[in-house]
């Protein structure tokens, strides 16, 4: 059954996925927390099994579960706020026995499916402001809950997903432009105007993280936050990797100069150990992955599936570029994981679920285009 299921997969997408997962295992093994590698392997195995299972689903039928998805997303986020253990000042995960469930990771997929369903349901009024308004109204509580945790990075992922889904759903360009303008105003308000007026929307450390990459030396007060330190050390590690990497001598990442580097700074670990060759390979694999998912978007048989896939593209691409950019010191620091590579069950499994959905869309698109199948259905 599994073999049969895998047969209908996009082979290049599968190749990219499995290669990145293998790299993830070895990278965690040489990170500052090598003891977590075996757990990561377990997550990977579970995730792959889940991916194969999900790939058998007919994604189009998910459209009917719009309210279920949305409700689950909201309830989950509320539960997190109420029940989650406080780790480093943020409530991110519910601890169930040995498992830490990070709901915002799975929530991304629920969000994509719920928003896609809404957009398709109002397909005839897609040009109207009311449609865009409804979607925004659905998104707002999600973002507020995420900011309350506080999980700024995930909130940004949701925003990018929303924008891509709106674009692919065919929302008028003027709506898109208005949203972009509104977004800009919001950023300026949050970072500049409101703090000047004495209202702090973001906590100081959040502002610090967002702006520290502009001035890595620590800004006017010379204080350097832990995250900015981490970013500096990550850059040193990446530079230390050079062309072919330091191998066993990759001391930046293995001797604890980049703390907690098995999650957000796994790219620095890879870059120092395997150099430009290794990091370039990782980036190439991501390029392959995104190209294949983009192809699936184009060939999707239905708008609903296309919009869901566009949400997944938004999720993957934003996380990849934000995380890698943060490692390379050209993006602000947000706690966004690197899909498939960062250590963490929720992140790995949620990403694999997303890719399972993409495979499913691909499989159904193939079926729908196969003349034999079409013949069968029409006769």
């Amino acid at each position: 059954m599994i073999l049969g299921a895998v047969k209908r997969f996009d082979p290049l997408l599968l190749l990219a996925t499995l290669s990145l997962l293998a790299i993830s295992y070895f990278a965690v093994r040489v990170s500052s927390a090598p003891e977590l590698a075996s757990r990561q392997l377990i997550f990977i195995v579970i995730g792959v099994v889940v991916m194969i299972t999900v790939s058998q689903v007919d994604v189009l039928r998910m459209r009917e579960l719009k309210y279920g998805h949305y409700g689950l997303l909201i309830i989950g986020l509320i539960l997190i706020l109420l029940l989650a253990a406080d780790t480093k000042g943020a409530k991110l995960a519910i601890v169930i026995g040995p498992v830490q469930l990070q709901w915002s990771e799975f929530g991304k997929l629920l969000f994509a499916m719920a928003i896609a369903a809404e957009l398709v349901d109002r397909g005839r009024q897609i040009n109207e402001w009311s449609t865009t308004g409804r979607v925004l109204a659905m998104t707002a509580p999600v973002l507020l809950l995420l900011l309350a945790e506080p999980d700024l990075g995930s909130a940004l992922v949701y925003v990018v997903m929303l924008l891509l889904m709106l674009a692919v759903a065919g929302v008028p360009s003027r709506h898109m432009q208005a949203l972009a303008a509104g977004g800009l105003v919001a950023i300026v308000m949050v970072l500049v105007v409101l703090p000047a007026g004495g209202i702090q929307v973001l906590k100081p450390y959040q502002v610090d993280r967002l702006t520290s990459f502009l001035d890595p030396s620590g800004g006017a007060d010379g204080e350097i936050s832990d995250e900015a330190y981490q970013q500096q050390q990550a850059m040193i590690g990446i530079g230390n990797g050079g062309r072919v990497g330091q191998g066993e001598d990759a001391t930046q990442s293995s001797s604890g100069f980049i703390p907690e580097n098995q999650t957000d700074f796994i790219f620095a670990v890879i870059s120092e150990r395997w150099g430009f060759v290794g990091a370039g390979l990782v980036l190439s694999l991501y390029a392959l992955l995104l190209w294949r998912v983009l192809r699936v978007l184009i060939e999707a048989r239905s708008s609903y599936e296309a919009i869901v896939v566009s949400g997944i593209i938004g999720m993957l691409s934003f996380q990849i570029f934000e995380n890698v950019g943060m490692n390379l010191g050209i993006m602000p620091i947000t706690g966004v994981t690197l899909p498939l590579l960062s250590y963490g069950g929720s992140s790995v499994i949620a990403t694999l679920v997303a890719l399972g959905l993409v495979h499913a869309v691909h499989a159904h698109a193939r079926i729908s285009r196969d003349p034999r199948v079409r013949l069968q259905t029409h006769t």
């Binding site: 990446i238 062309r243 001797s255 990091a279 983009l294 184009i298 239905s302």
Partner: protein
């Protein structure tokens, strides 16, 4: 079922065909944006890893490797016979491990280091602004005004409110209290103020962040070491180790030449002041002056180090790599330490027979053939071991006090004196060489002589009768040389000045010690330059001295800068120079070169102390060659014979100025050629001089002795020189006595 994007009709059927084209365009844009982002990330990765990889790799290695230097033992210094003059001994030092201090203390050190950096930038910016970049780059030292006008950063005190708050925020008030107590305890133990202990800690922390902090560098007593060992719990992080330090078995003998050893001297920016030390680790022990500085490259050896890989928490990972130090080479000197120490003893101090009042003075013995220095003594002296133990500020001030005896001052190489009659051979060579006289011309010495309306007289006005050159040297007739000085006065050609320079005066002899005094030979140009300086100084004075006759000359002089009386060069000046008086500044070393030239027939040797460098096994690694600076044709003047005879008779025949001193000397075996000198200084007792040589086939020697305030040459300098000669030739019953000749 048809793909909604490729074909017109979608399953939901909502979007118009035109809308689908928009969506297709948007998907294309998404693809293009993703492609662009990949390009940016790839380029950034290339930039970090390939283009700037080296600098970042350096930052990484600084992060992970901690090196602690092991100081290499310095090479010993031995005399010409292999006798050790400067050796090493183990001293106990007290150190503090930087890991035992709270992080906030390290932060204080970092801030202080940064403040110092900013401070030095401010200072150099000020200098550049005032002098211009080009001129500022040429400066050797930062001008005082720039230093004074910029407040120097201070180390944040332990009771600084900001620091107190930081400790409170970190919840480390307890640590702070302990730290204060620790500094107090260490201060009590090491007999230092607690603030001084902390200053050393902070300074070491910012200069060498991972090195152990030396608290008592130069040897703690056994008492202190034992106390620390027995009460270890009271002194967390404190350890005692041993270090090799210098020891001086001959104590004060010629102590000025050796110089001190210490960590690389740094300026306020933490950079080495001397170019040759720029590449060294700041903890390295280097020579700071004297021979230790001159031959540092040979003596220093190569420091070893312990290299340890560390993690972010400062824990050592794996086995540290040890590179053992390579000890320095042995420096062999030309000194004969027996003679050297003896010269110091007879020159001054408790054992001196002919300088019982312990007047300051200098003595040098040299091989006239090649300038090898056999003995060198400067009185008063000091025990260099005092610097190894550590000199208090008070003590040091006394050492360098302008009005004191200045024991650190090497009078042999740096003392610029009026040489008195010992200078007369120069005048003789100049007068005969320039054709102003011939050795047989007789001049009647009536005790005084009138030159251009001015009377010049012999010491106590005693007449010497008719004298030729030889006789004038023997009895030290001033009148004869006054006359020569007068004849040699030529404002343009300056023959006497030229001969002085040729014979090594007014310029450095080239001895292998840093900072030798070139001395002064006064002449027309010299006086003009001095007057210019004085005039410039007076003009810049406020209020300016008005030109013209309304202002009296005396008032102007009274308000002068004291550099010059603005007098023109006159024949009187030349007459004074002819007998080694007046503005002349000659060092005993220069006189040694002059008398060597008389002995060896005109070779101007280069005096030197270093003979060879030997490695640890004793094998010679390098032999130093100090080529003679030049040859002066003394025999060609025709005066050499007469001068030599005059010097011989002065020391050995009745009537000679120092004949009394050498009355019982074995003149047949060791003929002495000697000249007394008595330099007069207004308001001070006369300075006694003696210059002599013995032209022995095997062990020829030149000896120069001077005693400030020692009276006539024959009174103290000559008998001291006699003692040195007796020691050198091992003459038992030399019967050296103070002479009674009251000539100059």
């Amino acid at each position: 079922m048809i793909s909604p994007l490729n074909k017109g009709a979608s399953q939901s059927g909502g979007a118009a065909p035109s809308g689908n084209q928009v969506v297709a365009l948007r998907v294309a844009i998404i693809g293009a944006v993703l492609l662009g982002l990949f390009a940016i990330v790839f380029f950034r990765l290339w930039y970090l890893q390939v283009l700037s990889g080296d600098s970042l790799a350096a930052a990484a290695s600084q992060n992970r490797v901690r090196t602690v230097p092991i100081t290499a033992p310095r090479g010993e210094i031995v005399d010409r016979n292999g006798e050790t003059i400067v050796r090493n001994r183990r001293a106990q030092i007290v150190e503090l491990s930087p890991g035992s201090l709270p992080m906030l203390e390290r932060q204080v050190a970092n801030e202080y280091g940064q403040d110092l950096g900013e401070w030095s930038q401010t200072v150099s910016a000020k200098v550049k602004a005032r002098l211009g970049a080009k001129k500022a780059a040429k400066l050797k030292e930062t001008p005082q005004w720039a230093l004074d006008s910029t407040p120097k950063p201070q180390i944040k005190a332990l009771n600084d409110p900001e620091l107190l708050r930081d400790y409170a925020e970190a919840g480390e008030e307890k640590e702070l209290a302990q730290l204060t107590k620790r500094y107090e305890r260490l201060g009590w133990l090491l007999d230092l103020p607690p603030a001084e202990v902390r200053r050393r800690v902070i300074k070491s922390l910012y200069l060498l962040p991972y090195g152990n902090i030396p608290l008592r560098k130069n040897g703690a007593s056994d008492e202190v070491v034992n106390y620390i060992a027995e009460n270890a719990e009271q002194f967390p992080g404190v350890s005692t180790t041993t270090k090799s330090v210098r020891s001086y078995p001959y104590h004060g003998a010629g102590a000025q030449i050796f110089g001190q050893v210490g960590p690389v001297p740094v300026n306020d920016e933490g950079k080495s002041r001397l170019r040759k030390y720029r590449k060294l680790n700041l903890a390295s022990q280097v020579g700071l002056n004297g021979l230790e500085l001159q031959y540092d490259g040979d003596l220093r050896g190569r420091d070893g180090q312990v290299k340890a890989r560390i993690d972010a928490f400062g824990n050592v990972q794996g086995e540290p790599e040890v590179i053992p130090p390579v000890s320095g080479d042995k420096l062999q000197l030309t000194l004969d330490v027996d003679l050297h120490a003896y010269a110091q003893d007879v020159l001054g101090g408790l054992k001196s027979q002919f300088n019982p009042s312990d007047h300051p003075g200098a003595a040098i013995a040299m091989d006239p053939r090649d300038g090898q220095i056999l003995a060198l003594a400067s009185n008063p002296t000091f025990d260099p071991a005092e610097f190894v133990r550590g000199v208090s500020d008070e003590q040091f001030d006394k050492f360098i006090d302008e009005n004191g005896d200045k024991p650190l001052f090497n009078r042999v190489t740096d003392g610029g004196y009026a040489a008195g009659s010992t200078f007369k051979p120069v005048t003789a060579f100049a007068a005969v060489g320039d054709g102003k006289t011939n050795p047989s011309e007789v001049i009647n010495d009536e005790g005084k002589i009138e030159i251009s309306d001015q009377f010049f007289q012999n010491a106590e006005g005693l007449p010497a009768g008719p004298v030729n050159l030889e006789r004038a040297m023997q009895v030290s007739s001033d009148v004869y040389f006054y006359e020569m000085g007068s004849r040699l006065n030529n404002r343009k050609l300056e023959p006497l000045q030229k001969w002085s320079k040729d014979l090594g005066f007014g310029r450095q002899t080239g001895i292998d010690l840093p900072g030798e005094n070139p001395g002064t030979i006064p002449g027309t140009k010299w006086r003009e330059a001095l007057s210019d300086k004085e005039a410039k100084c007076r003009r810049s004075k406020n209020p300016p001295i008005p030109p013209g006759p309304t202002y009296s000359v005396y008032a102007a002089a009274a308000r002068g800068c004291g550099l010059s009386d603005m007098r023109d060069w006159s024949v009187g000046d030349n007459v004074q120079l002819a007998i080694g008086q007046g503005d002349i500044g000659a060092t005993p070393l220069q006189l040694a070169v002059l008398y060597s030239a008389i002995e060896n027939g005109g070779k101007i040797v280069r005096p030197h102390l270093a003979k060879a460098v030997q490695d640890r096994t004793g094998a010679t690694r390098q032999t130093f060659q100090f080529k003679a600076k030049r040859q002066v044709d003394l025999a060609g003047t025709g005066a050499l014979e007469a001068v030599r005879n005059g010097l011989a008779k002065a020391a050995m025949e009745p009537g000679g100025t120092s004949a009394g001193v050498f009355a019982n000397w074995p003149k047949d075996r060791y003929p002495v050629y000697g000249k007394t000198g008595t330099a007069q200084k207004t308001g001070k007792a006369d300075q006694s001089w003696y210059a002599a040589y013995v032209p022995d086939a095997k062990n020829p020697i030149v000896v120069i002795v001077t005693v400030e305030g020692g009276g006539y040459g024959a009174e103290s300098a000559a008998p001291i020189a006699g003692q040195i000669l007796a020691k050198w030739f091992d003459v038992k019953d030399a019967g050296i006595t103070a002479g009674d000749s009251s000539t100059r």
